[in-house]
């Protein structure tokens, strides 16, 4: 089961010194992962873009401003497209934070609210949207990152409560597509094997694939989902190069081409 912090009573959270008098735990150096039946393995938590951007920052100084998109995209009224678009917009928020572009972050905070309204989960993100705007205004970038992550979880939590788990997954997938689009854009501009290795995400791709396969038949057969499936199919072998081998500049370029095309599809009025 996956859970979200938004339901945690904040006051209960923080007591200092939890590690005082703690002892080291000994564990086997090697285990057989195959002993875990499928039911005893929980799905991967989808990383937020800043987990990856954090490493990119350590490996160099990317031109984050240059990665910002001119337009955040259009709401077509198609709920699947809006969910994907919402994911890309939140991911764009993480890029804008890296670029320390407070005006852009504020625009994104307002857009998150508008898109949430379009799919009936506005109430869940009103406070977050305001917090994103306020923290961007104060140039509190760590705080803004936390609020963007929180907005993502609030939206997904509200969708799950409405039994819209499929749409909740699409929000995550939209964020991953835009995050990977940016990651590959940066890596291909200044290729280093350590940067390319960040693309090695095999289980995450399997997870998305399983989720798309498990969607309702109508949604599964839609043009957007078909394109997403096709994108994952094309990326998977390129990302698996990370198993003991470097992901090549050509593969990075190809992954960028397909994820960028998907972002364009999600954000365009034709989606």
């Amino acid at each position: 089961m996956r859970i979200s912090f938004f339901a945690v009573p904040a006051a209960a959270a923080m007591l200092a010194g939890a590690t005082v008098a703690a002892r080291a735990e000994t564990a086997p150096q090697q285990i057989d992962l195959s002993q875990f039946p499928a039911a005893a393995v929980q799905d991967v938590v989808v990383p937020v873009p800043s987990e990856i951007f954090n490493v990119l920052d350590k490996l160099g100084s990317p031109n984050w401003k240059g990665e910002l998109r001119d337009s955040l995209g259009k709401n077509t009224g198609n709920r699947a497209q809006v969910a994907l678009l919402l994911g890309t917009v939140i991911a764009e928020g993480f890029v804008a934070v890296e670029a320390e572009d407070s005006e852009r972050v504020k625009e994104i905070g307002r857009d998150v609210l508008e898109l949430s309204r379009a799919i009936g989960v506005e109430k869940a993100v009103v406070t977050r949207s305001k917090a994103i705007v306020d923290k961007a205004d104060a140039r509190d970038w760590n705080g803004t990152r936390r609020e963007l992550d929180g907005a993502l979880q609030d939206v997904r939590g509200a969708m799950n409560e409405l039994n819209d788990e499929d749409l909740a997954q699409l929000v995550s997938l939209g964020g991953w597509v835009r995050g990977t689009d940016v990651l590959t854009s940066i890596v291909q501009k200044d290729y280093k094997p350590q940067r390319a290795e960040l693309l090695h995400q095999p289980e995450l791709l399997n997870y998305f694939d399983r989720r798309l396969d498990g969607m309702g038949p109508r949604l599964r057969k839609s043009e957007l989902i078909t394109q997403l499936k096709s994108m994952l199919k094309e990326i998977r072998p390129l990302i698996l190069e990370g198993e003991g081998r470097q992901i090549s500049p050509e593969s990075v370029e190809r992954i960028h081409t397909v994820t960028n095309k998907m972002v364009v599809t999600i954000t365009s009025s034709d989606a």
Partner: protein, 130 residues
């Protein structure tokens, strides 16, 4: 997964303890995710939770349960089943482990309830990165 309200509330309680275990690391600059894992286990049962980790980051995984007197543990292994953590601690209802991934890829956090007065012990696991 939709859970009955009473069960959800208990997992949320466990989550507050996991967050408590994370407090010292927040102060050290770790950003803890709002997304987390949780559930319930019997004594001696284990759960593997899947995580995508990136070389270049450090990660703290912090585990908590709301059951007073319970003992829980967490250890992180790479995709080949090799222990991947560089620090680990356990203190009753709290546990934590630090990972500095040698490679970007899939890792597994193994959660276990070692001791508990309850038949099923609710747990929650959070992670932070820096």
């Amino acid at each position: 997964m939709a859970l009955p309200l009473a069960v959800q509330a208990t997992v949320d309680d466990a989550l507050s303890f996991a967050y408590e275990a994370a407090t010292p690391y927040v102060k050290q600059g770790f950003t803890f995710r709002e997304d987390a894992w949780g559930g319930d286990l019997g004594v001696g049962d284990q759960k593997a939770v899947t995580a995508q980790l990136f070389k270049g980051n450090e990660y703290w995984f912090c585990l908590g349960t709301d059951v007073d007197g319970a003992v829980v543990t967490v250890h992180v292994y790479d995709s080949k089943g090799k222990l991947a953590e560089s620090q680990n601690w356990q203190k009753g209802r709290f546990a934590g482990t630090l990972v500095s991934p040698k490679q970007t890829g899939t890792y597994y956090a193994i959660v276990e309830v070692k001791k508990s007065s309850e038949e099923r012990t609710h747990w929650a696991l959070v992670y932070g990165y820096r």
